[in-house]
């Protein structure tokens, strides 16, 4: 399992901050070395936010090398257009990037996001009411969370490829070129989407860098848009996907009837809504849009500007939600081509049980309960695991011993010390009379 969280072992001081915030309990510090359990990690980036020593970073491609090559083709995430205070209009920013000799796939992105929304709206209208709500597949971390924690919900995930990848597909189809495409990603999770694609064999995107890196490099280049030139009018619908609720609104624009949709963002909200859905308590909802980052993709770990400001800018941006007959014809044409659908099922990634055999696993579970009852239950993290429960589980799985717990270790030392005192007070038989009492 590939991921995009990079560990710098020299910088890590073993402070266990990251261990405590990881929502899937995937981080351990064993023998003084931090490690991430690949099968559990969902690339949400929470550990990156908690690390004050820059020991954790995002694994991205080298932007300085990429920008040196001629006519770089870029796929910017919608978030990219919210990062600049002085380019208020996406079309203006497109001009700036073009003047820097970057090829921005903006037309393809506009079409791909429209196509995605249309396909999702079609899927919702064809699904029987009992199998609703469907869940968005846009946030790769949410998808991974569903695969590992809520595998029963996988059939509800819309089987539509990421619009970012579809834009690259569209461009390749039209131009027939093999030049590499670079994704400007707002988070570690979307970089992982390129490295380990879900729902398709291979990603059409070759390189990925963070929005932060590129936005700062453009700000540093000090290019101002040409004043005389009037940029092409754009609908800007897709840029709103950077905010919570943007996707839901876009889908609504393509739907014939009024849809009931939930849009939630942030780890806790996402976990709660998925749990409620799993328990069958979300009846009469048609669609759920989940984003792992607070306030949506603008809150991504790889963004350059404040998520609140970015949100505000997007809110002030002119957006045309009206679907013209021309838009509709174009999107119907693309829809008929069928390339937007996932070609590989989203497979469950359940956590490994304690043993392959239920009877054996039950014995281990009993052992785990016994070990756990002896631990202090304060989840201090000193043992390098996120909780006493996780520690008990690791011991049973054969990774670690009870003395990894600092309190158990002290108990052991104390009882040993008591034994030493007792031993030191006992005298050899031959000397006992000199001791006085006997």
């Amino acid at each position: 399992m590939l991921h995009s969280v990079k560990i710098s072992r020299e910088a890590c001081q073993g402070c266990v901050n990251c261990i405590k915030v990881c929502p899937v309990e995937a981080i351990r510090v064993v023998d003084g070395e931090i490690s991430i359990m690949g099968e559990l990690c969902i690339d949400c980036g929470e550990c990156l936010r908690s690390c004050h020593r820059q020991a954790l970073g995002i694994e991205e491609d080298d932007w300085n090398r990429i920008k040196e090559s001629s006519r770089v083709t870029l796929i910017p995430d919608p978030v990219f257009f919210s990062q600049f205070s002085h380019y208020n209009d996406p079309a203006q920013l497109v001009d700036v990037l073009q003047s820097l000799d970057f090829n921005l796939l903006i037309d393809e992105l506009e079409e791909a996001f429209d196509l995605c929304s249309y396909a999702s709206a079609q899927m919702i209208s064809r699904t029987p009411a009992s199998q609703l709500p469907l869940i968005s597949s846009y946030c790769p971390s949410v998808l991974r969370l569903i695969q590992s924690r809520f595998p029963e919900l996988l059939p509800r995930v819309v089987h539509v490829c990421s619009p970012l990848e579809l834009a690259a597909d569209l461009w390749r189809m039209r131009t027939n070129t093999t030049a590499p495409v670079t994704l400007l990603a707002p988070c570690s999770s979307k970089i992982t989407m390129k490295r380990e694609p879900q729902g398709r064999e291979q990603s059409p995107i070759e390189q990925a860098v963070t929005v932060r890196r590129v936005a700062r490099s453009i700000m540093a280049s000090n290019v101002s848009p040409a004043p005389s030139h009037t940029p092409r009018e754009r609908n800007g619908r897709w840029v709103q996907w950077a905010r919570r609720g943007g996707e839901a609104k876009h889908i609504q624009a393509f739907s014939d009837k009024k849809l009931t949709m939930l849009a939630v963002s942030g780890m806790r909200n996402t976990l709660d809504v998925l749990q409620e859905l799993e328990l069958g308590r979300l009846r009469s909802v048609d669609f759920i849009e989940c984003r792992i980052c607070d306030t949506g993709c603008v809150g991504g770990i790889g963004t350059a500007d404040s998520r609140f400001l970015a949100n505000l800018r997007l809110n002030n941006m002119k957006t045309n939600w009206e679907i013209t007959p021309k838009d509709l014809r174009r999107v119907e044409g693309l829809y008929a081509m069928d390339f937007w659908m996932v070609t590989k099922e989203f497979s469950p990634r359940p956590r490994l049980p304690l043993s392959d055999n239920v009877a054996d696993a039950m014995v281990k579970l009993q052992q785990m309960k016994e070990i756990y009852s002896g631990l202090p239950h304060i989840d201090c993290g000193s043992c390098g695991r996120p909780s006493c429960q996780a520690m008990a589980e690791e011991i049973v799985r054969g990774h670690g011993s009870v003395t990894d717990c600092i309190f158990k270790l002290r108990e052991g030392i104390s009882s040993l010390a008591n034994k030493i005192v007792t031993l030191s007070e006992s005298q050899p038989q031959t000397l006992k009379r000199r001791g006085g009492s006997n």
Partner: protein, 143 residues
């Protein structure tokens, strides 16, 4: 045949905020044992609905899950007011929940029918003024 794993939770009455913790715990335990995920989901629904019932109707009680190799026994026991007419309580949409519970989004009268739908064996005993005991069994299919 190993000894069954017994999980027991005390559920407090009228505490809506924590309802769901026990069922989540039971589900995670089953996953650790390698039980198929659709079985885990069914057990989670049964235990969650029972938990909610204990919270809104019974003023609290005990929720037990006894996991054996091929099945799980689920017991929800309370000393609440009891159910006057069980056959009526089994009808979808019929509920005696308080206004407060309904305001919280609970008490839609789906609990017991939902439990019955998701378990393999279902038994409910209730005495007015003494309490209710709900027993369910879910079998694990052999793979």
């Amino acid at each position: 045949m190993g000894a069954p794993v017994c999980l027991e939770y005390r559920i407090e009455g009228n505490d809506f905020m924590v309802a769901g913790a026990a069922s989540n715990n039971i589900k995670n335990t089953l996953k650790m044992l390698g039980i198929a995920s659709d079985i885990c989901r069914r057990v989670a629904i049964i235990t969650y609905e029972s938990e909610i019932n204990l919270v809104i109707h019974a003023g609290g009680g005990i929720l037990q899950a006894i996991i054996s190799e091929d099945h799980v026994d689920l017991v929800a026991k309370d000393e609440g007011p009891g159910i006057p007419d069980i056959s009526k309580a089994m009808i979808e949409g019929y509920s005696t929940a308080t206004e407060e519970a309904r305001e919280m989004g609970f008490g839609a009268g789906m609990g017991l029918p939902n439990i019955k739908r998701n378990c393999d064996e279902f038994d409910i005993e209730s005495t007015i003024g003494k309490g209710t005991t709900l027993k369910c069994v879910v079998y694990f299919p052999q793979n």
